[in-house]
Symmetry: C2
Subunit: 506 residues, 2 copies
């Protein structure tokens, strides 16, 4: 055995106890100190090394905690024996992976819906269930020109790493482009993410600890529910009517409970299509300030109005830095390139940064330059202008088809923007049951309860009019109507969702 020595560097920033602990550990792991060997008592060791006895005590205690040494009354401190190798079952089987996973990996696995949304339904099925932009209008020629330009002009920039908060040119372009009334946006208040999904994930990581309460609208987006459930937050839902979130109910709630965050899609809400009225926007911002509760405003659709410009965003109206605004190119351009953004007060941006760095360093440099060109060349605005007309027409077409095929079986809203209709199935039937018939009829939609934290809205469904082409919309509604007829026949017109009892409670 070589001479075992402890070297202390009193100039090092590593504390002395840790230097001692680490060196003893190294000797044990290198088999330089045999099992069972007795270490010097703390007092003698301290004297020998010229350190305080407490330094040695701390070092020994950590070694005991980590299982390297053990202390016995009467025998002093000795090197712990290795575990008997035989006590481990010498396993010739593959790893038993199920034993290894953390609880976080046991969050809801992607469902049938997620597959249909990401991969698409089978080819012969018409999808009225996805919020994908109209593929007949993808600006792919413009995209090709932009890619050519940036790969040629800036290969060294677009092929290299870029800052975690996002490339400055894109942040500057967005600062101008995002509607902000007379309240200029500082590019440093903008943070780039891989789409709005990642934006909400990072914001929820930064702000929502397990057990804290978040308020959502009911109905609300599937993704927000998934994100908040994974954060193990408590979710409270506030109903939405034609004027958006019922802020009177929210006020009542805030006066009774500690709420950490309010999540809202104020404009062309998903799935209800409702628009939070100007009056309620003012009230909501007042509540956020009064009760000091931050608002997450998800705003993917506000550019997609059919006729009248919707009210200003909460972010633009906010004078108390209470709003975290999330946006994305996914609904106004395309989704296969993944870029979204957060507009938030600088203290928030600062906290998002290390989370983004940890998750994926930064969003694709190439894609950030693609989108900044789309904005700077005015192509995004032109495209959005065109898509407003396309979607207004498709919406009309879908509503005409509904009037024609199922005027009595469905009731629907008349949205003034956005990407979907929100429909109530009449006669107390469940849309979960209708979906089974619909899949059989080769048409896909999303059933209402998916949009509710409590699985309400069992008789509602969402119909998207953006992705399917005009013929598919008409044929899709025809198939839907036929699915409804089959469901009604199967259930003999016996209502399923019904008031079976109605009693006064006070």
């Amino acid at each position: 055995m070589p001479l075992s020595e402890i070297y202390l560097n009193r100039k090092s920033r590593v504390p002395l106890y840790m230097q001692i602990k680490n060196q003893i550990k190294d000797m044990i792991l290198n088999d330089l100190l045999p099992d069972g060997k007795r270490l010097l008592p703390t007092r003698e060791m301290a004297h020998l090394l010229g350190v305080n006895r407490s330094t040695i005590v701390t070092a020994y205690n950590e070694l005991i905690d980590e299982g390297y040494i053990e202390s016995h009354v009467g025998r002093g401190t000795v090197i712990k024996k290795k575990n008997d190798v035989e006590s481990f079952s010498f396993n010739h089987q593959p790893m038993n992976w199920a034993e290894f996973f953390t609880t976080i990996s046991k969050i809801e696995p992607p469902s049938f819906y997620d597959d249909y949304i990401c991969i698409g339904p089978p080819e012969d099925t018409i999808s009225l269930g996805v919020g994908i932009p109209d593929p007949d209008h993808y600006p792919s020629r413009k995209l090709k020109e932009i890619l050519d330009k940036i790969v040629k002009e800036k290969p060294r920039i677009i092929l290299q790493l870029s800052p975690s908060e996002g490339c400055y040119p894109l942040r500057a372009a967005l600062a101008d482009w995002i509607p902000h009334d007379d309240k200029p946006i500082d590019p440093n208040e903008i943070f780039i993410t891989n789409g709005a999904v990642q934006a909400l994930y990072i914001v929820s990581q930064a702000l929502l600890a397990p057990g804290e309460t978040v308020v959502v609208e009911s109905p609300t987006s599937m993704n927000s529910l998934k994100t908040f459930r994974a954060a193990r937050a408590k979710i409270i839902d506030i109903p939405v009517d034609q004027q958006g979130m019922r802020v009177d109910i929210l006020d009542n709630l805030l006066s009774r409970q500690k709420i950490k965050l309010i999540y809202t899609i104020p404009t062309f809400q998903n799935p209800s299509g409702s628009v939070l009225s100007l009056e309620r926007r003012v009230k909501l911002l007042d509540l956020a300030r009064k009760y000091q509760v931050p608002i997450i405003e998800e705003d993917p659709y506000s550019m997609l109005y059919f006729d009248q410009v919707p009210p200003s965003s909460l972010k633009a109206m906010d004078t108390y830095e209470s709003v975290i605004h999330i946006g994305t190119f996914s609904k106004i351009l395309f989704q296969g390139l993944r870029v979204g953004w957060v507009v938030a007060p600088k203290p928030v941006i600062k906290q998002l940064l290390p989370i983004k760095f940890l998750i994926d360093l930064h969003t694709s440099t190439l894609e950030q330059y693609v989108f900044s060109e789309f904005i700077n060349q005015g192509l995004l605005d032109k495209h959005v202008q065109k898509m407003r007309k396309v979607y207004a027409r498709k919406k009309e077409l879908m509503i005409s088809a509904l009037y024609k095929c199922c005027p009595d079986d469905l009731k629907w809203n008349e949205p003034v923007g956005g990407i979907c209709l929100w429909c109530q199935l009449q006669g107390g039937l469940r849309t979960a049951d209708l979906l089974r018939e619909a899949i059989y009829e080769k048409v896909f939609f999303i059933e209402g309860k998916i949009f509710s934290p409590q699985n309400n809205h069992e008789d509602w469904l969402r119909l998207n009019f953006t992705y399917a082409d005009e013929k598919q919309i008409e044929e899709g509604i025809r198939r839907l109507s036929s699915a409804i007829q089959k469901l009604k026949t199967r259930h003999g017109r016996k209502p399923e969702i019904e008031s079976l009892s109605a009693k006064p409670i006070i």
Copy 2:
């Protein structure tokens, strides 16, 4: 006040107690039940609604927990009064954001290094500190051709959502391309991420719970330390020598402690450049099996050998499904597009999926098609062949410059592949101090202690030879040498890292 009624739907999947609770809550929030109003006692309410009394008790208890009602001996159950609005300070100040953040957002913020790595050092500074591929050899013409091709041929595919596990064409291309000896890879064992950073983040989320222990090499990659620290894992380091990780020490450790994961970069290790010998690979896989500890094998560099093909990957040698293999295009092509991958047993892939879905839905469809074209057209192999020669030459050049400029002040390894030299500063000086001089001399490297979980390697530094051009390498080493001379002068050749005491401990 409208007539308050409770409607029960006995066919609903929503439990009766929850239907009752939700409806009472709604009435309270809609101000239909005035503060202080007494609810019917549980027995009477149960009778009235025709449910078990326990159903009512559960509903009332949840309402009490959530602060809507309260129970008083003698007074029964009453609607709780709202909090006095005046008790909330009516705040006209902006949000006090510092109060709102979770602990996870307080992980290490990106440092000076991270900025230099992502954004680059100031323009007049030569960076020998970044593992970025040689920008003079970016295959940007080929990239442009591929982009043209896929935007033209597949606009509908590349601009749309794609599966969370990755696009099949890329997974299939990788399954063929990743060296696998005679052990074929199933594309369904491959999972696509936004680069290796995200791969490690997702794997660590799936497998590492707070307080669990992960073994790393010392030195090891900066990013792995950051990821494991953020997971609040305990990190134990095992030294690396010329043959890679000291698996004898690992064996000793495993016999004493419960270890959750082993993280290794077996081939051209970052930063030491060492290659885990074939014998140790066999031993490491044996240990993983014997102690049932999964291995994370990060493998970004193994294609970048200078002369001899390195030993097979642990993944290729693994017959017990114990290895999770992480790869990336970032070191062999470019980093501005973010695509990496995990090769792992299917039960692991299944657990990664919901985490990826939550974080960002999926990796850019466009970029996945770009890389599958690079592989399928044979361009990746050609490019890697070229870069092997380029990097071998640059490595030689750097070593020549070191022999010329600082033969006595630095000792270095002679790597047989990879992207860096690992150098020890002689004379007991700290590379943290050298870095200050070096920045002043306009050259940047990374100090050794950043690669250590315990801030060891204080007299080591990493020099990358891939990013800087040949002239910059020579000039960079000249500047480094001049920084060393200045440091020595400043410290009067007085060693800083020194054995100040050396005592026998047993």
